[in-house]
C-alpha cells in the first residue's frame, strides 16, 4: 500500500459557519493527529479548497456565498497550519474534477487515498467515487470527516462502504500508516 492523505475543504467559511461550527470543529483535533502521523512517516499530504468566483452558480443553488477566491474565508483554517503539502484549488465537488490531483498523486506513486475533511455526503463522497473509478484504493477516516447532520454522515459512509472503498476509525488508520 502506498498511501496519500487528502484533507478536503477545511476552510474558514465552511468550518466556522455559524450553523456548522459546533459539529465541524470537533474533527480538528483528530485531523491534526492524523496529519502529524502522516507527516512524521513521510506520507504525501495534499489539501483541497474550494476557490470560487464571486458569481459561481453554486451560490444561487445553496443561497449563500462562501470560499470566494482571494478572501480569508477561502483559506485553510489556522489550526491545521503549517501545511505539509500542496493546496489544490477546485471549483466542483470531486477533488479530481478539473484539478491536477490525479497527476500529483501519480507523481508521488500513491495507490491508496486516505480521505478526511468535509462534507462527508458531498465532497468526500464524490471524491471517493472519482478516486475509485481511477483505480485508487479509498480509505475514509470516520473520525475525521463530518457533515451538517449525523444521518447524512452515516448515509454517506454507508454509500462509500458499498461502492467506493473502506471506512476506518482513526486508530485503525494510524496503525496502518505507521506500518508503511
Amino acid at each position: 500500500m502506498r498511501p496519500g492523505l487528502l484533507i478536503i475543504d477545511m476552510q474558514n467559511d465552511l468550518i466556522y459557519h455559524e450553523k456548522r461550527q459546533a459539529r465541524f470543529s470537533k474533527i480538528i483535533s483528530p485531523l491534526k493527529e492524523l496529519i502529524n502521523c502522516a507527516h512524521s512517516h513521510n506520507i504525501p499530504i495534499f489539501y483541497t479548497k474550494f476557490a470560487l468566483d464571486p458569481h459561481d452558480a453554486q451560490f444561487k443553488k445553496f443561497g449563500e456565498i462562501y470560499c470566494v477566491k482571494g478572501t480569508s474565508g477561502c483559506d485553510i483554517i489556522d489550526e491545521l497550519k503549517p501545511l505539509h503539502g500542496p493546496v489544490i484549488e477546485k471549483q466542483k465537488n470531486s477533488a479530481f474534477f478539473g484539478t491536477p490531483l490525479d497527476r500529483m498523486l501519480k507523481q508521488k506513486n500513491v495507490d491508496t487515498l486516505v480521505l478526511c475533511g468535509v462534507q462527508t455526503q458531498i465532497c468526500i463522497m464524490t471524491t471517493a467515487a472519482d478516486a475509485s473509478f481511477r483505480e485508487y484504493k479509498v480509505l475514509v477516516v470516520e473520525d475525521c470527516v463530518e457533515s451538517t447532520r449525523e444521518d447524512k454522515k452515516n448515509w454517506a459512509l454507508q454509500w462509500i462502504k458499498e461502492y467506493a472503498g473502506n471506512v476506518l476509525s482513526l486508530s485503525a488508520i494510524l496503525s496502518l500508516l505507521k506500518e508503511e
Binding site: 445553496f62 466542483k92 470531486s94 474534477f97 455526503q121 464524490t126 471524491t127 467515487a129 481511477r134
Partner: protein, 317 residues
C-alpha cells in the same frame, strides 16, 4: 463557415447541392417524417457530443415508427464567437453518426446569434425514413398481454451528463449510450414476427415513455423493477444523487412491445447485437389500471409510476 468547416466535415454524407431545396426520390409512398431540436449541457460528454446526439436522436425517432432512416436536414444555431475547433468536432461527430446510421444530410442551415443570446449551440434536425407497407408500429398499438422489452441498461446518458456538469466523478465510469439504432431495427423487424410498439426512452426516461404508451393505447403497464437492467455505476450514482434511474434519459435504447410469440425471436436477435446485449423482458401490458404504469418493487408491492413532471434534480447537499 460552410465551405471551410461544415461541408468538409460532412464529406460524403452530404449529398445536397447548395440549392434552396433538395429533390429526393423515396423508395415507396409510406414515409415517416420527424423533427427535433437539441440542446445539452455540457455539449461534449463521455460517449458523444451534441452533433452525435442530434443525428442519433433523429434516426431513433424514425425507428420508433418502424422506418428506415434515409435523409436528414441539419441546422446549426450558434452563439457569436463559438469556438471553431469545437464546431468542427461537432459536425464531424454528426457525420460519423450519419455514417453509422447510413443516412445522408441533404440540406442544412446555419445562423449566428449575438453573444449572450444563446448558450453556445443548438441543433435542429428533421428526418425522413421509409416504412414497409405492412408495418404499423405506433404508441397507439400496444395490446393486452404484449411483452415489454428494453434493449439495454437504463440511465447511462443522463448520469454521465449530470456527473460531468456537476463534477461528481461518475463521468469516468459511465458513458452516454448515444447511438443510432437502425441496426437494432433491422434485427427485429420481420414479416412473421409482429412488433406493436417501439419507443425510445429519452427525456423523462423509461417510466415517462411507458406512460405515453399506456395513455395512447389505453392499456395498463406493469413492470418489475428488479428485471430492469441498471449498471452498478448508474445505481451507485443514482443512490448518491437521490435520482430514480427509471426516470433518467437514455439516448441509445428502445422499448419494444410485442406479442409473446415474437418475443423469443426479438430477444435472441437483440442480444446478438452490440447495442442490445443487455436486453431484457421487464413486464407486460395488462387490461387492469388502463392509462397507468405500475412498478412492482422487490418486496412485491406495486406502486403507481406517473409521468415525470419537470426534471429530476440531483440532490447533493
Amino acid at each position: 463557415m460552410l465551405d471551410e468547416i461544415i461541408l468538409p466535415q460532412l464529406g460524403k454524407r452530404n449529398v445536397g447541392r447548395y440549392e434552396d431545396s433538395e429533390i429526393i426520390t423515396l423508395p415507396n409512398n409510406k414515409i415517416a417524417f420527424t423533427t427535433d431540436s437539441f440542446v445539452v449541457d455540457p455539449i461534449f460528454f463521455p460517449g458523444g457530443d451534441i452533433g452525435k446526439l442530434s443525428i442519433c436522436g433523429t434516426v431513433n425517432d424514425l425507428i420508433c415508427r418502424g422506418a428506415y432512416p434515409l435523409y436528414i436536414a441539419f441546422s446549426l444555431i450558434l452563439e457569436e464567437g463559438f469556438n471553431i475547433d469545437q464546431l468542427s468536432t461537432i459536425v464531424k461527430s454528426a457525420c460519423n453518426a450519419a455514417e453509422e446510421a447510413d443516412v445522408y444530410i441533404v440540406v442544412g442551415d446555419t445562423k449566428v446569434l449575438p453573444k449572450g443570446k444563446l448558450d453556445k449551440i443548438c441543433i435542429n434536425t428533421s428526418g425522413i425514413g421509409a416504412i414497409q407497407t405492412n408495418i404499423d408500429i405506433s404508441v397507439y398499438n400496444a395490446k393486452v398481454d404484449d411483452d415489454i422489452i428494453i434493449s439495454g441498461t437504463m440511465g447511462d446518458h443522463a448520469l454521465s451528463v449530470v456527473s460531468l456538469r456537476e463534477g461528481l466523478g461518475f463521468e469516468r465510469a459511465v458513458s452516454s449510450d448515444c447511438a443510432p439504432l437502425n441496426g437494432l431495427l433491422r434485427e427485429i423487424i420481420e414479416p412473421k414476427y409482429e412488433v406493436h410498439c417501439i419507443k425510445d426512452p429519452t427525456r423523462g426516461g423509461l417510466i415517462t415513455a411507458l406512460n405515453e404508451i399506456a395513455i395512447n393505447s389505453n392499456v395498463g403497464v406493469l413492470v418489475q423493477r428488479e428485471l430492469i437492467p441498471i449498471s452498478r455505476h448508474v445505481k451507485a450514482g443514482c443512490e448518491m444523487l437521490g435520482l430514480d434511474p427509471l426516470y433518467l434519459a437514455n439516448e441509445g435504447k428502445l422499448i419494444i412491445m410485442s406479442p409473446s410469440y415474437s418475443t423469443t425471436h426479438i430477444m435472441s436477435r437483440l442480444r446478438l447485437h452490440p447495442y442490445g446485449k443487455y436486453a431484457a423482458i421487464i413486464g407486460r401490458i395488462v387490461s387492469e389500471h388502463p392509462k397507468c404504469v405500475l412498478v412492482e418493487e422487490s418486496n412485491g408491492i406495486r406502486k403507481n409510476a406517473p409521468m415525470l413532471a419537470g426534471v429530476q434534480k440531483p440532490r447533493l447537499c
